[in-house]
């Protein structure tokens, strides 16, 4: 059996671990915060989405490099 493809994708799979943990942490904190103070949910969510976008940038750069390099 012959497997072809780019080994970059394995590297990218490893690279997604960091952003995945980061994004998970952000939303875990939102859930925690909502449980403690439900009325602050909307304020926390909009901040969380900005943080999510910033953390996700790492995964985005990763996928770009996986295709480019």
């Amino acid at each position: 059996m012959e497997i072809t493809g780019s080994i970059n994708m394995i590297g990218y799979a490893l690279a997604t671990l960091g952003p995945a943990i980061g994004v998970a942490w952000i939303f875990a904190s939102v859930i925690n915060g909502t449980a403690r103070q439900p009325e602050a949910r909307s304020a926390m969510l909009s901040t969380a989405f900005i943080g999510f976008a910033v953390v996700e940038a790492l995964a985005i750069i990763g996928i770009a490099l996986a295709f480019v390099l």
Partner: protein
């Protein structure tokens, strides 16, 4: 035609696993719409990407282009229809459109930009609706391709947001004031400037537009690719002759692709929201008094 079994029936409907047709993994090639194969051997003569890839014999008048045009027209017409007959007591239709409008106005523009949000509201609302419509084209019949899975369209939107947030900063603080505010955070001692200024330049003027475009593109592209893997692979397994296990897993895979399509609907909404929120955030950071 042989005995009418499920695989032959599906095989007649989905011309995929015919004789001599081997399984081809979906890839970047499936997102290309050229008039003819560009590199030798890249597209076979019967490749779907090679048929009706463009209109009027022009390479860039292709499917994503028409989708972008239709999307823009749709946004204009829908908002025009929604704003045509407004009444003090909203009906059901007006209630829906007001909900969408106030989601962008209150949830994104006013929350982030503060009292001066009105100047940037038309752009944000147009951006949000255009992104949403184009992302959801990936799940709708007749289209079945998110426009922004073609990176050029994502670049243009990112460049537009880039120009607008830089223009907003220059308009508020002047060129020198804006550059000083965006390159030197307050309270940084002078001996750190050689490190901070390149970093801030990289972050404000290069990484921001780059990640705006790439985030949108990568999410749309990867999501559509996942759907394609499940559908194409599922159809191949479903029509595989003489192996019931393959056929059953193919059916499961095709059913699972529906779940992914629903996830894609959510991702399309999320990406439209994030792009708009980040644009508003960048505008805010360039017009803000203190950085």
């Amino acid at each position: 035609m042989g005995p009418l079994t499920l695989p032959t029936l599906v095989g007649a409907l989905v011309p995929l696993a015919g004789e001599g047709h081997t399984y081809q993994t979906p890839g970047v090639r499936d997102f290309r719409y050229f008039c003819q194969a560009r590199e030798a051997g890249e597209l076979g003569p019967n490749d779907p990407g090679n048929v009706a890839g463009c209109t009027f014999g022009v390479d860039w008048l292709n499917k994503p282009f028409w989708q972008a045009v239709i999307g823009a027209a749709l946004v204009i017409v829908l908002w025009w229809l929604a704003a045509r007959k407004l009444s003090l007591v909203p009906g059901r239709g007006q209630f829906f459109w007001e909900y969408v409008y106030s989601f962008v106005r209150n949830g994104i523009a006013r929350d982030i930009l503060g009292p001066e949000y009105r100047r940037y509201l038309p752009y944000l609302l147009g951006l949000f609706s255009f992104l949403l419509v184009n992302n959801w084209f990936g799940e709708f019949f007749l289209f079945m391709l998110p426009t922004f899975s073609n990176i050029g369209y994502a670049w243009i939107l990112a460049i537009m947001s880039f120009v607008i947030y830089i223009g907003a900063g220059i308009r508020t603080h002047g060129v020198g004031g804006y550059l000083r505010r965006s390159l030197i955070p307050e309270g940084v001692p002078v001996y750190l400037w050689p490190i901070i200024i390149p970093l801030e330049f990289l972050s404000n003027f290069i990484t921001r537009p780059l990640t705006l475009a790439l985030r949108l593109f990568a999410n749309m592209f990867a999501g559509h690719l996942v759907v394609m893997v499940f559908v194409v692979g599922g159809a191949f397994l479903l029509t595989y002759p003489g192996n019931a296990f393959y056929n059953i897993s193919g059916a499961v895979s095709i059913l699972f692709s529906f779940a992914i399509l629903f996830l894609e609907l959510f991702i399309g909404l999320l990406q439209a929201y994030i792009f708009t929120v980040l644009t508003a955030q960048y505008i805010h950071s360039s017009v803000a008094e203190s950085h």
